[in-house]
């Protein structure tokens, strides 16, 4: 290694993969995907992975993607809850990987909830 830039390049690439190990503080946007049996059957795993990959792709560092169990609204699965600090929780229903991309684009990065996916 001859330059500091080489070192910093490795640092920035690896750091992104390690973001998941940071504490979920109150200052982070939380995306919670319903992964009960009902959710999984409705395709929640694709949705979950779409969120994880989408957030990484956009290099959003203030976002935590986690899971939850069934919340008794099985017919609307896959359900995704998004909480932006200081704002009310938004619940998206009947989600897909494509819809996830739009939520990341407009809500997580843009700050405007995607009203058409909200029940």
């Amino acid at each position: 290694m001859k330059t500091l830039e080489e070192l910093l390049a490795i640092k920035s690439v690896t750091k992104k993969t390690m973001l998941v190990r940071e504490d979920i503080g109150d200052d982070k946007i939380k995306i919670v995907v319903g992964m009960g049996t009902c959710g999984i059957a409705a395709g929640a795993r694709d949705v979950l992975n779409a969120f994880v990959d989408g957030v990484a792709e956009k290099e959003l560092t203030n976002v935590a993607v986690t899971q939850m169990g069934c919340i008794d609204m099985c017919k609307y699965e896959p359900i995704v809850e998004v909480t932006v600090p200081g704002k009310e929780k938004v619940t998206y229903v009947n989600m897909t990987a494509e819809k996830a991309a739009k939520v990341i684009e407009e809500h997580i990065a843009g700050g405007e909830p995607v009203s058409e996916y909200i029940k």
Partner: protein, 602 residues
């Protein structure tokens, strides 16, 4: 992109409680559920809370699973990883708060700690140099080589107030400046990882959990002192540490962080690993260097000091693992940052290996000036089984003890020396009312007698005589005069031994004499061991009126010392038993078998 990271402790503690099998089971179950592209399993170094091992932390939730069993893995994978339902029943109970999970940093064990030397332990994969780099790794080395002169580096280390963590407490910056000032065609850096105190495992955990920080720090030291080669002397009994260190050195070489012309600065530095064969004396700096040279590990007289004539007769800087572990952080954050922690003359933090009669056995790092009470009662969770805290032994066979009455002493180098104790390398063994202090002194003397290299007479013969005197006292044959003689010999050995081993070997005796002289007196005058440890002073008795005559004890007795009598206690149906004290070997087997608590130890 992995959505979840599972960190499993791969330190020696958790490895011995079967964490490799946990990792294997995790990988198997994850593959079975088709989660291998979503969940990553990482083997880390020590988390510190060894009492709860094997430990496993799942991110992003930060769920802290403790004492994980292989049988629990299918449930954790299916419920938690797949369906997102944390298996609360298997979490460390302090992290469960109703329905939510508390961060590990909020638990009693972690909240008072401040991790500098251990900052990456249990956080990164020690076998992946990229993860170390992601945590600012090798940036301190780059800063030194690109922006600072060797003199400035030494100045920063001096200003930080860092002192040797191996136990001596010598200012690290001054040590570096001595070597730097000596001109020579070749100089060396040596890392002392020959951690030999019974109960100490701080250095092992740093090497296992964050080996790259030692590699980086030694290169920085090399630059500051003008050395181009370094040796890490590590015990062969630390196979995991050795393997990870070797891997770290290899990776650093591949990345050009060791070798020629590092960061294009023209500075060359390379590292070698040497394994110690387990002799305690090789932790003494001159003996250690003699051992690296390929000779029998025996100390040599100082002066000349290693800074003048050290390894292969060249100027050498030798520091302990934990000392080095602080260096990169000091360079990156500045001397003022480091000096802002700790007390007036002892800056920074200290790692302690908590062991003995304590709930949370493990590794803790606290700012200097924290009191023993905070360590034991708050971080350590107190003495288990409702027993009373008696004393804490610090510094192993070279150290002393802190009695309960001095529990509120802020721990730093000078305060401990002032009370006739010593910081030592960081072993902290907690003792309760069931520990006999004379026996503790004898335990450590046994160790030093074994480990004395035999080169100088005061240590070789003196420690042996000390042990014989202690034997005499614990077997009830001692006199008050023996106690005085014991003390006198202690001072003689301290004053006349060649190296640190002999000079500190009497410390456990002197410290226990200072704080627990009455126990020594009880052993010689009353012939009693209040803690019930010294067998020769004990008698086992059956309280005949409590004996139901079941005969369990007689069947357990290996010496056939328990026989039935013809006395039947009032209200009992069978005759009572009796112990023949001449035949009794005092093994205590009867005591634990008696269901009626009719057997007593006096």
């Amino acid at each position: 992109m992995y959505r979840s990271h599972v960190l499993v402790c791969g330190g020696t503690g958790c490895t011995s409680s079967n964490s490799p099998a946990i990792i294997e089971a995790l990988e198997r179950e994850i593959a079975k559920n088709g989660l291998q592209d979503e969940i990553k399993v990482i083997r880390t170094g020590c988390f510190g809370l060894c009492a709860l091992g094997p430990i496993m932390v799942v991110y992003p939730e930060g769920a802290f699973y403790s004492q994980v069993k292989v049988d629990d893995i299918p449930e954790i994978v299916e419920e938690h990883f797949l369906k997102g339902r944390v298996v609360t029943r298997l979490l460390y109970d302090e992290t469960v708060d109703g329905d939510s999970i508390k961060s590990l940093n909020e638990t009693n064990f972690y909240k008072k700690q401040h991790r500098v030397a251990l900052r990456n332990c249990g956080v990164i994969d020690p076998e992946d140099i990229n993860e170390y780099i992601a945590k600012d790794g090798y940036q301190a080395l780059a800063k030194c080589l690109k922006e600072l002169t060797p003199k400035q580096v030494v100045q920063i280390v001096s200003d930080s107030g860092l002192r040797g963590r191996g136990g001596g407490g010598f200012p690290t910056g001054r040590k570096w400046s001595f070597t730097a000032a000596n001109e020579a065609d070749q100089k060396y850096v040596v890392c002392n990882a020959d951690e030999g105190d019974p109960g100490a495992f701080m250095d092992r955990s740093v090497l296992e959990g964050d080996p790259h920080c030692i590699v980086e720090a030694m290169a920085i030291c090399g630059y500051a002192t003008g050395a181009t080669e370094g040796y890490v002397y590590v015990r062969a009994e630390y196979p995991i540490a050795v393997q990870r260190l070797k891997k770290a050195i290899e990776q650093a070489r591949e990345h050009g962080l060791l070798g020629k012309d590092i960061f294009g600065s023209g500075f060359d530095f390379d590292l070698h690993v040497r394994l110690g064969a387990g002799a305690f004396v090789c932790g003494e700096e001159t003996a250690l260097m003699t051992s690296i040279e390929g000779n029998r590990g025996e100390p040599r007289p100082r002066p000349p000091y290693p800074a003048v004539k050290g390894l292969f007769a060249k100027p050498t800087t030798e520091n302990n693992v934990e000392t080095f572990a602080n260096i990169p952080q000091i360079i990156l954050n500045g001397a003022e940052w480091f000096a802002s922690m700790g007390t007036e003359k002892s800056k920074g933090t200290k790692v302690f290996a908590l062991g003995g009669k304590i709930k949370n056995t493990g590794l803790v790092e606290i700012p200097m000036g924290t009191t023993l009470r905070e360590i034991i009662e708050e971080i350590g969770g107190g003495v288990p089984n409702g027993k009373k805290f008696k004393a804490a032994q610090t510094g192993g066979p070279s150290g002393g003890c802190i009695p309960a009455s001095l529990m509120d002493t802020p721990i730093d180098y000078d305060n401990l020396t002032a009370i006739g104790c010593m910081m030592g390398s960081g072993g902290l063994i907690v003792m309760d009312e069931d520990n006999c202090m004379v026996d503790i002194a004898k335990f450590f003397l046994n160790f030093t007698v074994d480990e004395s290299c035999g080169k100088c007479t005061p240590c070789r013969v003196g420690t042996k005589r000390l042990l014989e005197m202690l034997d005499k006292i614990t077997s009830g044959k001692g006199t008050l005069e023996d106690i005085d003689k014991l003390e006198e010999l202690c001072y003689y050995i301290k004053d006349n031994s060649l190296c640190g081993l002999g000079q500190t070997a009497p410390n456990p005796v002197l410290a226990t004499l200072k704080f627990f002289r009455e126990e020594y007196v009880a052993h010689v005058v009353d012939k009693k061991c209040a803690a019930g440890v010294c067998k020769d002073l004990l008698t086992f008795k059956i309280v005949k009126d409590s004996c139901f005559g079941c005969g369990m004890c007689a069947r357990q007795c290996p010496a056939e010392a328990i026989k039935v009598t013809d006395y039947v206690a009032p209200g009992k149906k069978k005759p009572a038993y009796n112990i023949d004290s001449d035949k009794c070997v005092k093994c205590g087997a009867c005591l634990s078998t008696c269901k009626f608590k009719a057997i007593v130890k006096e």
